[in-house]
Amino acid sequence: MTATVFDIEKFAVHDGPGIRTTVFLKGCPLRCIWCHNPESQRREKEIFFSPEKCIGCGWCFRICPNHCHIAGETRRFDRTNCIRCGKCTEKCYAGALELVGREMTADEVLDEVLKDKVFYENSGGGLTLSGGEPMMHFEFLCELLQKAKAAGLHICIETCGYAPWEHYERILSCIDLFLYDIKATDPEKHRHFTGVTNELILENLRKIDDSGGNTILRCPLVPGVNDDDAHLLAVAALANSLKNVQEIDLEPYHPLGVGKCARLGIASRLEVNEFADEKSIEKWLSRIRSGTEVPVKKS
């Protein structure tokens, strides 16, 4: 069993307690307009193209079976006939073409993760599964979780909550902490921002909570988009209604996804190029804190 992994990040310190390794799996059922990892949305491999890095060596022209690379005054990559075979990326030593995603078995992933086991042990850290949406690779996930648990790792999963309850139920015993995304509390707004409504997401969250699963609520916030008071207070109320929420983490918007969209050859759906400002962040923190005793932090 394999999954498409698009990154393995060592010394990840924002994805759960202690020093962690975060494994990013490719594929997501949501299409958030602010997505900062657009390369995580599709399950299949994709190609990043950064024309400014191209040194014009010509390897991609020669090797591409479908002649997608076009020379000329403006170097172009026509993706119409691209089959994402990745041959061009193998020969692009300048790094202008990069294959995003590689198929890995659970054992391969675990081998990489276990390299830092000593750091997890000394810091209370471990493995974090993220994406995309890790639940999209459910069978792979089950195998990896079982093996990681057997290796004694502390495990976090970052999830958008949009998967069948039966799947969450099956993995509950392996997960030490859910990093659970709350992108919008209003169902319609949720659909507008992400493409799906949030009923299933909230239902799963309650069931996880009822089953004793520990959670940190993670709230991406974009100034002027989903940072209205009603949402902030609803997040606080949601946390109050749950028994096992340890913390609310705010994830202020950053525009890194915009550049990635360009490298993927897709249009960004949110052309906001500024980072969330400190003033807004302070306002969000105090607003949510006004409604709950649960600790609220900036991630």
Binding site: E9, F11, A12, I19, W59, G95, D116, V118
Partner: protein, 680 residues
């Protein structure tokens, strides 16, 4: 005129003393030189309100008087040859001029080195030391005088010279006291200097005044375990007083380019030492860390780093204790006194003569000389290793030859006085009088060579798609027009990423080199391998043509024992694991590891705990040392563009702290290239 009169009338008391009795032994001549300087040279200026004397830039040996020949602790003297020769024109008489030039020639002869420039890797016979502050305080200079007196009959010439210097020092201090009284200096200071350093201090302040004075006497080198030494004189001084005194002392250290100080994280006083260093680049301070280091001390360290001062660096207490024991052959009793000199060269304070850094090998330069035109990797590697061993043997032979010259011609009487066991044994410092003698030897370019060997293995196996000859041709042409090849080389495994292929080469090669170096250790002279490149990795690269890893002609080498700049792409855990593959146990000289941290990551408690766990994990696995630079890439880039706005920006570079603005532009670029570990 006689030679000494000529030098005297030219304002050169040190040189005048040296030529006073030209037929005397060199020990006597150096004693005459020191005595004459101490009796004649102008005193350093008293700085209004200062808690210490001397203070500021001009010290005991380098008073701002135009003296071109001075005492200088690494080589016993230093000469500004050009300025000295210009003084010839002040002499009217041709005969006097000839005598004068004859003297200059003899002085210059004393500064020759047997170490070939090829082995000048981070040093060429430079000596750092930490004098025995603890014992000097305890016995006072009067006690030392008594010990010399008691032993005098055993060797009148040797002890006579020491006595002459010590008495001159005491006279000098009395001159200082008269001067201070005349200028109405702080009464606390004059009262303290009435008593110390001739006698045992009666208070913390007197102990500090004595240490400061002695530090200037020694020539402004390293102050060792000063927090522990002073701690034994503490009574109930408030923390503000401790911080004020440390700050005043560190200012002196900074202004005089002083070197190392080592704090003990188990002593509460270390927090004052750390806090006092806020804003001062020097000393190159370090702190001994272990599992039991209190959390408030960790916070003091993180606070210092977050204030953009990368001091103190972290040292793994237990690993050094083990390493020091094996490397130096130190007795258990003396092990508690290990400290560092210079950038971070291991030594036993007050009891060792460690020429640091004595010499070293530039591994990439050797690889370049070996060449790559062989029929197989095995053949190449065998030749390369043979060349490396040949150079190590030659380098160590040259430093031992140099040691003989130093013993014969440039006795170091200040350290003979203040380092155990010179007085007891009646043997001069450079002649091996101290309890432990050795050399820290350096290795440069190990990281570059590891990356190059990864490339060469693939080249010889045909995996690069080029013949050896074709690759060598391209390399000889400095990879000109081969951008795709260079980009291809860049993508191959690199040391510093927890990559088995690169790291196993580093493991094998470092063990081979360090163990071969230590095989030259003798009971009377140990060899301590190290990788301490401070600012030299730039110039050391200038002598090396393009190398197989894709590095271009003249580009800097990799910084110290970490990854080559810009090549660790897998985060700090991977980087540390790679560095752990180096044979750390056999290179406690020190293996300097620079890591660039993002200031934001040091602010909150949660992240601090993670960094702490990271560093302690590294130490648990055998790591020796970590030194941070805390400045983000944007700040460094801004400082490069607008130096005037970043005068105070301090970075840690290969073993010591330096103002960023003092680096060459090339070196600034290399520092910026070091991966910044932001994490998350």
């Amino acid at each position: 005129m006689k030679k000494n009169e000529i030098f005297s009338c030219l304002g050169e008391p040190f040189a005048a003393g040296f030529f006073e009795e030209e037929n005397a032994s060199y020990i006597s001549r150096h004693a005459d030189a020191l005595r004459e300087h101490l009796d004649r040279a102008p005193l350093p200026e008293y700085e209004e309100g200062s808690r210490f004397y001397p203070s500021g830039r001009w010290g005991i040996w380098n008073a701002d008087s135009g003296e071109c020949v001075q005492f200088f602790y690494p080589f016993s003297l230093r000469i500004d040859g050009e300025a000295l020769r210009r003084k010839k024109d002040l002499l009217q008489n041709k005969f006097d001029q000839r005598i004068f030039l004859d003297g200059v020639e003899e002085l210059e002869f004393l500064l020759q080195s047997s170490i070939p420039p090829f082995y000048a890797v981070g040093g060429r016979g430079w000596t750092h030391a930490v004098i025995h502050y603890e014992r000097i305080l305890k016995e006072g200079l009067n006690g030392y005088l008594q010990r010399i007196e008691n032993a005098r009959m055993r060797n009148p010439e040797f002890y006579g010279a020491l006595k002459q210097v010590l008495e001159a020092l005491i006279r000098y201090k009395r001159r200082c006291l008269e001067y201070l009284t005349a200028c109405g200096a702080d009464e606390r200071l004059t009262a303290a200097l009435e008593w110390v350093p001739e006698r045992t201090p009666r208070s913390f302040y007197e102990a500090f005044v004595a240490c400061n004075f002695l530090w200037y006497v020694d020539g402004c080198d390293s102050s060792g375990r000063i927090d522990r030494i002073l701690n034994s004189y503490r009574t109930n001084e408030p923390e503000s007083e401790l911080c004020e005194l440390f700050a005043a002392f560190w200012r002196n250290v900074d202004l005089n380019d002083g070197w190392h100080a080592l704090f003990d994280s188990h002593l509460p006083i270390c927090k004052s030492a750390i806090l006092g260093q806020r804003g001062y680049r020097r000393p190159n301070s370090g702190i001994l860390i272990d599992e039991d280091t209190p959390s408030d001390v960790w916070d003091a360290v993180f606070d210092a780093w977050a204030s953009s001062n990368p001091s103190p660096a972290l040292y793994a207490r237990r690993n050094y204790e083990n390493g020091a024991g094996t490397g130096l052959g130190v007795s258990d009793e003396d092990l508690r006194d290990y400290a560092f000199g210079g950038c971070t060269e291991l030594m036993v304070q007050g009891k060792s003569h460690v020429v640091s850094t004595d010499a070293g090998i530039n591994l990439l330069r050797i690889l370049s000389a070996t060449g790559i035109r062989f029929s197989s990797y095995e053949e190449f590697y065998e030749r390369f290793v043979a060349d490396v061993k040949r150079h190590i043997a030659r380098m160590i032979h040259s430093i031992r030859k140099n040691a003989v010259f130093r013993a014969d011609y440039i006795p170091q009487l200040i350290r003979t006085l203040f380092m155990d066991d010179c007085i007891e044994r009646g043997i001069e410092f450079n002649a091996g009088g101290v309890r432990y003698n050795g050399s820290v030897v350096n290795v440069a370019g190990l990281n570059n060579v590891v990356n190059s060997l990864v490339v060469l293995k693939r080249l010889y196996s045909g995996a690069l798609g080029l013949s050896v000859e074709e690759f060598a041709d391209r390399m000889d042409r400095n990879f000109s027009g081969c951008e795709a090849l260079v980009a291809q080389l860049r993508q191959l495994p690199k040391f510093g990423n927890d990559n088995e292929e690169a790291d196993s080469i580093a493991e094998e090669l470092s063990a081979l080199i360090f163990q071969y170096m230590t095989s030259f250790s003798r009971k009377d002279h140990f060899i301590l391998p190290s990788i301490i490149l401070f600012a030299t990795y730039g110039p050391l690269g200038a002598a090396v043509p393009a190398s197989p890893e894709g590095r271009l002609d003249g580009m800097p080498l990799g910084d110290s024992c970490g990854p080559v700049q810009g090549t660790d792409l897998n985060g700090p855990t991977a980087m540390l694991k790679s560095v752990l593959k180096l044979d750390q146990k056999n290179a406690p000289g020190t293996l300097v590891l620079n890591i660039r941290l993002n200031k934001k990551m040091l602010k909150d408690h949660e992240n601090r705990e993670k960094w702490k766990a990271l560093f302690l994990s590294y130490f648990r696995m055998g790591g020796l040392h970590i030194q941070p630079t805390v400045a983000d890439t944007e700040t460094l880039k801004a400082a490069m563009k607008d130096p005037a706005s970043y005068e105070g920006l301090i970075i840690r570079i290969g073993g010591y702290s330096e103002y960023f603005n003092r680096l060459s532009d090339d070196l600034k670029r290399e520092v910026i290239k070091r991966e910044e570990h932001i994490a998350g």
